[in-house]
């Protein structure tokens, strides 16, 4: 490496990055360090991944069940959806959603409000936002409520095992979860108001919305593309899982008078989950790794911010690529661990 004039080291991480990032979950500007730029990219990667996993799971389960529907129309629509979105390269889909959105969405000054104060424009999706006073006290109260609930559950378990008494754990838990945070509004000085996005003129034909929450179109289209694509695979996992439960179970459940919905929720799904989780984990991993295609449409994820801009501005290719690889490896291992733990929990305990 020395012959090629490349020197090696991680000292650059504390230097000032001197570039700005479009969208960040934490406070960041170019006068912060490269290490903080890394954190900005990582959080943005986590954000799309988590949103993607949530939406692809919801959609995937619905489509997977729909594929087994007795209704011909529902069944074939679901099948077409899966075949269509599964077989088009993801990058193309991302470009499609992004540029289609850009072409189709109105300029801020031409956007009609939806539900009062929501605006979907070419520069982003603008929604009202909540403005908190003493948010930290509120968060502590939620944490305290959760801790209290854990104790109630342990106590209830002890009561049940020692004295055979049942107490309504669920109702008590819900009450605690509401009452405790609510109290902070009256005695903790917590307050919340909302802020609406307001149109602001920058130049003759150039407008933006100020105030409220703004979600950039890059994030929107990325989440849509990732969810629609990955949901096809989740749907197939769900279908395979349901089909993997023997017909006898369904018939037995029907014979004791359960309806279709009950059979699915009480008999089929709990068992099918064990078949669904391992391959679904793979899809979650894929989605997380695929989120790195974000760079193509300017969504500032880890690859764009750190392995892109930061790498270019420092020239520390080996260091930055190795950190980035290690980060994705860690993320993947964490997701696997989490899903394995969940799978172990729902596995049938053979007595």
């Amino acid at each position: 490496m020395a012959t090629r004039g490349i020197d090696f080291g991680y000292g650059f991480l504390t230097q000032e990055s001197s570039f700005d990032v479009q969208f960040s979950l934490i406070e960041y500007s170019g006068s912060d360090s490269y290490a903080r730029a890394y954190l900005v990219g990582l959080l943005n990667t986590l954000l799309v991944s988590i949103l993607g996993i949530i939406f692809c799971t919801i959609l995937g389960v619905i489509v997977g069940i729909a594929r087994l529907s007795p209704n011909y129309l529902i069944r074939t629509t679901a099948a077409w959806y899966v075949e269509f979105f599964r077989n088009i390269p993801l990058l193309l889909q991302i470009f499609f959603w992004y540029y289609a959105a850009l072409r189709a969405l109105p300029l801020p000054q031409e956007a009609d409000p939806m539900l009062g104060s929501f605006y979907l424009t070419i520069k982003g999706f603008y929604t009202p936002s909540l403005v908190w006073i003493n948010l930290d006290i509120f968060i502590y109260s939620v944490i305290a409520a959760i801790v209290a609930i854990v104790f109630v559950r342990l106590y209830a378990k002890k009561l049940r095992e020692n004295q055979g008494k049942h107490i309504p754990v669920l109702n008590i838990s819900i009450t605690i979860l509401f009452i405790l945070p609510l109290l902070t509004f009256f005695i903790g000085g917590v307050n919340v108001t909302y802020e609406l996005p307001v149109l602001k003129q920058l130049a003759k034909t150039s407008f933006i919305f100020e105030g409220g929450l703004s979600i950039p179109p890059e994030l929107l289209s990325l989440v849509i593309a990732l969810s629609l694509y990955t949901a096809t695979f989740i749907a197939e996992c769900v279908r395979a899982g349901i089909e993997g439960i023997s017909k006898g179970q369904r018939e037995a459940a029907a014979s004791i008078g359960l309806n279709r919905k009950q059979i699915l929720n009480l008999i089929i799904m709990p068992q099918a989950l064990r078949i669904i989780i391992p391959p679904a984990t793979n899809q979650y991993l894929n989605l997380t790794k695929n989120s790195s295609l974000a760079a193509a449409i300017a969504y500032p994820d880890l690859v764009l911010v750190f392995a892109g801009t930061a790498l270019m501005q420092t020239g520390k290719a080996i260091e930055i690529v190795s950190i980035t690889m290690l980060t994705y490896l860690t993320l993947s291992l964490l997701i696997s661990l989490l899903m394995n733990w969940y799978n172990a929990r729902i596995a049938i305990v053979e007595k």
């Binding site: 490496m1 490349i6 700005d20 479009q22 072409r103 003759k204 193509a296 449409i297 270019m312 020239g315």
Partner: protein, 352 residues
Amino acid sequence: MFKNIKKILSLLAVASLVFVYSCDQMAGKKNQKKGASKTVDATKKSGFVKCGVSQGLPGFSNADASGNWTGVDVDICRAVAAAVLGDADKVKYTPLSAKERFTALTSGEIDVLSRNTTWTLSRDADIGLTFVGVNFYDGQGFMVRKNSGINSVDDFQNGISACTNIGTTTELNMRDFFNSRNISYEPVAFEKADEVVAAYDAGRCDTYTTDKSGLAAQRTKMSNPDEHMVLPETISKEPLGPVVRQGDSVWEDIVRWSLNVMIEAEEYGIDSQNADMMKSSDNPAIKRLVGAEGELGAAFGLDNEWSLRIIKQVGNYGESYKRNIADTGILPDRGPNELWTKGGILYVPPAR
């Protein structure tokens, strides 16, 4: 799970061994004889110059439908090929995004990077690169829609969104500029230039910022070029020029003087048409440039007609500029890129 971790760890171990070994190998090749060049040898052996260019910037480096590359940056690659291999067409072009370009050079995928790249201190000193000269003096500017009502950078207001390329000096200058004026802005940075153009063209951003030459060139790609204009202000210095890998001084000299020869040839009025006739000129400086006097090529192990071939096959700087940038309507006025003798700042050391 733990089995997997073990597997991964052993893979990592193997990978790092391979890596350390290859570094050793590179270090071993260091002992270079004086006057000999590893890159020249490799170039002669493969039969073409490996040149990194842009992914399509009209006037600078742009491929037509049949894959023929043209542009002032491309002409540098062609000049080097004419000098070293005797044929300007013996070039292998690698289109690179701003982000990929330096890694391609330091890793050896290309041997010359001639791709509207700004010469800066940190690039020159830090990352294993050496800039050899300037073939286009440029500066960063802004493009806006004509109907936007923005006629100068003074009309920019808080909240403006600016589309640009990542990994460029543009990204850094933009911050300096908006910061010093206390304007909050939304940077929307893409990897590929075409994506920037598409997003700006669709209305995602209020302004598109990059080198002014780049703005002029990219404007031709907009769906309706007449709807856009470049603001008058220039916010930075962007001296663009060819780059080589650090460590092969002979190769570095060949690329540097291939560029210098093109500029000096224009200064002395030598062009692709009259070059042969100039051999009988009375001016020794001219005779040296066309190889009729002196032994200039010997200094880097080339024959004495190397510079004549550049002028005959590629042309002088003025011919290259006219063919690629002026006649195509991109920047008809040469501005600072005029010879020092004609009021510009093009001034190269003498070839003697």
